[in-house]
Amino acid sequence: MKLRVDIIKTVGSLRLDAQLEAGEGTLALLGATGSGKTAILRCIAGLSDPDEGRIMIDGEPLFDSYRHVSLPPQKRKIGLLTPGYALFPHLTVQGNIAAAVDAKPDRERVSVDALRRFRLVDAADKKPRQLSELERQRTALARLWASHPSAVLLDEPLSVIDSFLKFGLEQELSDFVRGFDGPVIWASHDRGEVYRNCPSVCVLENGVTQEVISAERLLSHPGTEGAARLSGCKNIIGAIPRHNAIFIPEWGVTLRSAYPIPPFLTRVGIRAHQVRITEPALVNTFSVTVERVIEDVSSTIVLLRPNGASVDAPLLRMELDRNTWRTTPDQRNLTVSIGPQDILLLR
């Protein structure tokens, strides 16, 4: 089963232009807060109409502005999990699940089945506000499951959860998604969440979707500045191609890449943990001065000024193991290197 989206919509000051396809395996919709993730999911679910375009599931149109088709959300069979879950507060767990079953005679059977499947039997008669966070998520998933959706949309499912609870919730969510037979779109701003759960990723930047790539490729070749930032890259700086190498004017540094340098290159990205302290005279080495040292929970962050840098150039952020930093002899002047395969070539 395939879910295909190709839509345009103006929402306030944001112009959405979304093209994506979700089939086997969960597709991540990775975007910063306010980039339009929720607006796209709402269009797919039928809660708002795009200005133009098509939304198809298995070749059947849910929305088609050219043929004037727009099914109401009730007829689309798209399950939506929203932040906070939107459980019906006045109904019990079982009541919430039963509310998702169309046919009256099936309600009892399906909801009892769902209670068992989602380990909610003991909570069946509780109201949502009496539930633990885990039970609340289970109830939302059970309700979703009971409605027999043909596709599932997860809208920042873990964004309002305290971080110490997240891990357990994420695993159950992950199990649910893996067991679901149909397209799943998992919207998130968290690269870790995406990397752990989604084989493919669609990056969303200011309402515009980039091409769908694998999660691996997002880390090794993000392609655009926005994708690099979303993938967690901390150093992004203007660059120009020069004689098969990359010149960074602000730092006065020339770097070599292991990959062919595209002519449209305007920036490079360097991940903080891929900056290494090294001996001079290796490839891609340059000398730097330490500007600031920040002790993080499990690592040390060091801000470096390349020695050829202009006065207002951004600092190079290096992140390394605390022990490695403690045993560095000269903590003032260093030589660092960046592996030619680790330089992200960006548009």
């Binding site: 709402r42 809660l47 007829k75 939107a86 169309d102």
Partner: protein, 222 residues
Amino acid sequence: MDWFPLLNSLRIALLSTILVFFAGLFAAHRVTRLPQPVLRSALDALLTLTLVLPPPVIGWLFLRCFGPGHMLGYWLRQFFGARLVMNWPAAALVSALVSFPLMYRASRGAFARFDAGLTDVARTLGRPEAWIFWNIQLPVCRRGVAAGTVLAFARALGEYGATAMVAGYIPARTATVSTALYQSWSGGDDAGAAFWVVLSILLSGACLLAVGVLENARKEEL
């Protein structure tokens, strides 16, 4: 003791509250869903107008429409052989006009606070709009709606100005607690007047107590 004015007041208030309940819910639901804030504010003002207008203004306007010599009154008489003046249904209708804003305001407030995310999820689960309104939105907003209903009932129970104009005071026909009180007082029957005064205070107090209980329960739930 003649209990007719109390019974008449109760049936007027009851019919008025039934009318106001459905009309108020419908209007509040519709206005809450309007996308334009300016239109919403304008309708809020219009639909609350009868709360602040002097009741005789409403009585006069009502008579201009349903009075025997006027268009709607004439039609009612021609086609149904009915009239809507000097009887208790007329009093109920005019009380409904006066108490409508109380129901409307309370429901409107409750609907505006209602989380539209619940409606959205219910839609994606396949539930029809009417089902969502009666099974999700109304139960979630029940305390605000109930408070509005009780207030509207209390207001209709004590209505005087408009009722006196459209139903007058006919003993055992249109007498209500308020009009009976006025008649007792103007006829020099102080004991009779005091009786209706005490009864009114008790009834209104009980209604307000019910509203208070409902609103406190809502706050605790949040």
